[in-house]
């Protein structure tokens, strides 16, 4: 029952499975080799199954000879287009190359099955049914996935390329078009099929074109700048306002926060309370090398920020830099969490302090034993 072709592929697949197992145990399961072997096994198994099922492509002897005229198909064209994409891809981008390979493979699979089923019997309807039986379980998911991926990707590329406000407008426009189209088609059931198909095709092409255009023009300048300059991740610890970092400071932290101490700036004075001791203090102890979270709460009119001055650290040979960590500028009535890890003990008093930026004479000593 096993055909020659299938035996070859089955053997190859078994060999692949064995080498995958050996490779995994002896070499390293996370290496690229293991991955490749892993992909190889099902691929060859699929080929084996195809060979087995199509009896190596020999026409079924029991059925009358296949129709002489093969059904018209677009797959030769698709294959050619795929090859073209591969060629373009080799000189431009790897993504295009991969797309081309996928198209070529898909076209060949479809083409093979199509021509095989054309020869299966003399009855075209039966042949078409046969083709559908094998291809539909593959086509459904592939088309659904590609369809949604195209919409999602094209759309997000367009949005990234245009300006922020234009993006939102575009979003509304696109969604409205879809909706309006739906309503239009629904209330006019008599519309010609070709017209509907045409409108949809124009929409799809437009979307893809937009996506390609968006992708090639790149993301908008504003975002590129935010990334390269670290707008929101870089914080200056002075009393002045950072243009980006201090915009929209946090108003509160979760009430269930696990904190080691609470520091409050009440009417111009800085006070601390440590976990387990309700009394106010101006000294808190933090165990060395221990990530410790402190809540800073601003109860004074105006925006203030808590700065932890954590001594100095060598940045290069002979150069030391002050180590400091800070919250954002916190508006009155708001709070923020500051998580510190201090690796070295504070040998002399005042080595580590918590201060409010721009306020003199108010500080809380941090003792690291």
């Amino acid at each position: 029952m096993f055909t020659t072709g299938s035996k070859f592929f089955i053997g190859l697949s078994a060999l692949g499975a064995v080498s995958f197992a050996v490779f995994m145990v002896l070499v390293n399961p996370s290496s690229i080799g293991a991955t490749a072997l892993f992909g190889f096994v099902p691929a060859v198994a699929l080929a084996a199954w195809l060979a087995l099922w199509s009896r190596d492509g020999e026409p079924d002897e029991s059925s009358p000879a296949a129709s002489a005229v093969p059904s018209p198909g677009m797959w030769p064209f698709m294959a050619a287009a795929g090859v073209a994409l591969v060629l373009v891809g080799t000189i431009t981008r790897p993504a295009v190359l991969i797309l081309g390979v996928v198209v070529v493979v898909a076209a060949f699979v479809e083409w093979t099955v199509q021509s095989w089923s054309d020869r299966a019997s003399a009855d075209p309807a039966h042949n078409a049914d046969l083709r559908g039986r094998i291809m539909q379980p593959l086509e459904f998911p592939v088309l659904a996935t590609i369809g949604s991926a195209v919409v999602i990707l094209s759309f997000s590329r367009i949005m990234l390329a245009v300006s922020k406000s234009a993006g939102a407008v575009l979003f509304i426009v696109f969604a409205s078009l879809v909706l309006v189209g739906g309503v239009l088609f629904a209330v006019r059931p008599g519309l010609k099929r070709s017209l509907v198909a045409g409108v949809c095709a124009v929409g799809a092409v437009g979307l893809v074109a937009g996506g390609v255009g968006g992708a090639s023009s790149g993301i908008r300048a504003e975002l590129v700048e935010a990334k390269s300059e670290g707008h929101y991740t870089h914080r200056t610890c002075g009393p002045e306002k950072d243009k980006y970092g201090d915009k929209h400071a946090l108003l509160g932290v979760s009430s269930r926060s696990a904190v080691i101490a609470t520091v409050e700036f009440v009417e111009g004075t800085l006070v601390a309370r440590v976990q387990g001791n309700p009394a106010e203090t101006d000294r808190i102890t933090i165990p060395r090398s221990n990530p410790s979270s402190i809540i800073f709460r601003n109860k004074t009119e105006g925006d203030f920020r808590l700065v932890a001055r954590l001594g100095t650290a060598p940045v290069a040979e002979g150069v030391v830099e002050e180590v400091e960590q800070c919250t954002q500028l916190i508006p009155s009535g708001a709070e923020q969490l500051l998580t510190l890890t201090i690796p070295k003990p504070s040998l002399e008093p005042g080595a580590y302090v918590l201060e409010v930026a721009g306020i003199e004479g108010q500080s809380i000593e941090v003792i690291v034993p």
Binding site: A258, I260, V274, Q275, G276, N277, P278, T285, P287, R288, S289, N290, P291, S292, S293, T341, P343, K344, P345, L347, I367, P369
Partner: protein, 407 residues
Amino acid sequence: MTSARPRPTAVNRLGSMRRRVLPALALVALAGCASNAPQDTWDPAGPNAQMIDDLQRPVFAVAGIVGLIVAAAVGWAIFRFRDRGQAIPKQTHGKPVLEITLTIIPALILAVIGVFTVRTVFDLSKTDDTEMVINVTGQQWWWEYDYPVQEEFGITQPIITSGQLVIPVGTKVMLRQTSRDVIHSYWIPRLNGKRDAVPGRVHLNRIEADEPGIYAGQCTEFCGLSHANMRMEAVALSKEDFAAWVAQQLAPYESPADGLAKEGEAVFLNQCVRCHQVNGLERADGSPAIAAPDENVVSGAAPNLSKLMSRNTFAGAMFDLLTPACRRDVWEASPADFGSKYLAGVSEDCLNQTDLRGWLRNAPEMKPMYANPALLAGTGGKYRGMPYLALTESDIEKLVAYLVTLK
């Protein structure tokens, strides 16, 4: 489960029940139990553990009685209603009144227990009358204790120690617990129930010891490879002895004059200071030698070894610094002379040379730790616990001579 010690006044009224049912049950239980188990949960030695004990004894008694009743009922049913050829019984589906009664009775018992439980929970969580604060930091696989400045106890600068927690008797001590790496749990059964030490949080745990002595404990939250070896001991000293201990800890560092110990100091400066701090130790150029441990160790710290020989244990209380005979002498000392024996520290004769040398020779072999360089990819090369240092025998000789001087 012996408790010969006189107990403070009964905390709750459930106690009265104890007098009637306990003797019988205690007799059964006593027969099967070890005597003097160091971590016995039924042998309280301080008011917190006592409060728990006063609650749990009646609960156990009630549970035992209920258990006996059920067992007796089942046993009787098995005996009485076995198939002796009797007719098929009437197909009754139950008696709701009986059902409801038998639902309400346990509910009532539980309600009573619940009331006392809630009261004890709140009594145990009281912290406002704390007299002394100690910060406790757990890490793989030992405990660090630091005593913040508390003038009333003569602590004028922070004391950092490990392995043995030293507390004055009759003093309400609050442990502020946290952790540097994973969750640990601090448990000295004879002083109080356990409380987890969670990284990023501070948990409060109040203990108080009635009498001088050593109270054993053990980390009870699974914390990795050497969880079983993460032990601790609480040492209770009389108030005078405690003052002496504080003075001893605060005494300035004395560099050994010369000889083997002096050479040992050099080895220490060369090898050990990378992780271990000895307060007051200075390098040859007069600069203070400060450990920078977070560069090598995941949890970021190694035990502070100042006054090492004033403790009785090392390596997370896994090994004794005392020989077995000397250890027994300290552990079994009467409350009256315990203080002086403990404060004497480790003399050269009493030093447990075998374990200490073994430890210096190859620590990971003595205690399972993630110190194998081959397995450190996940931690970026940082190890947990003490690594193998490849010290020569002569270095070990010198180091032991030096360590003995750290008193």
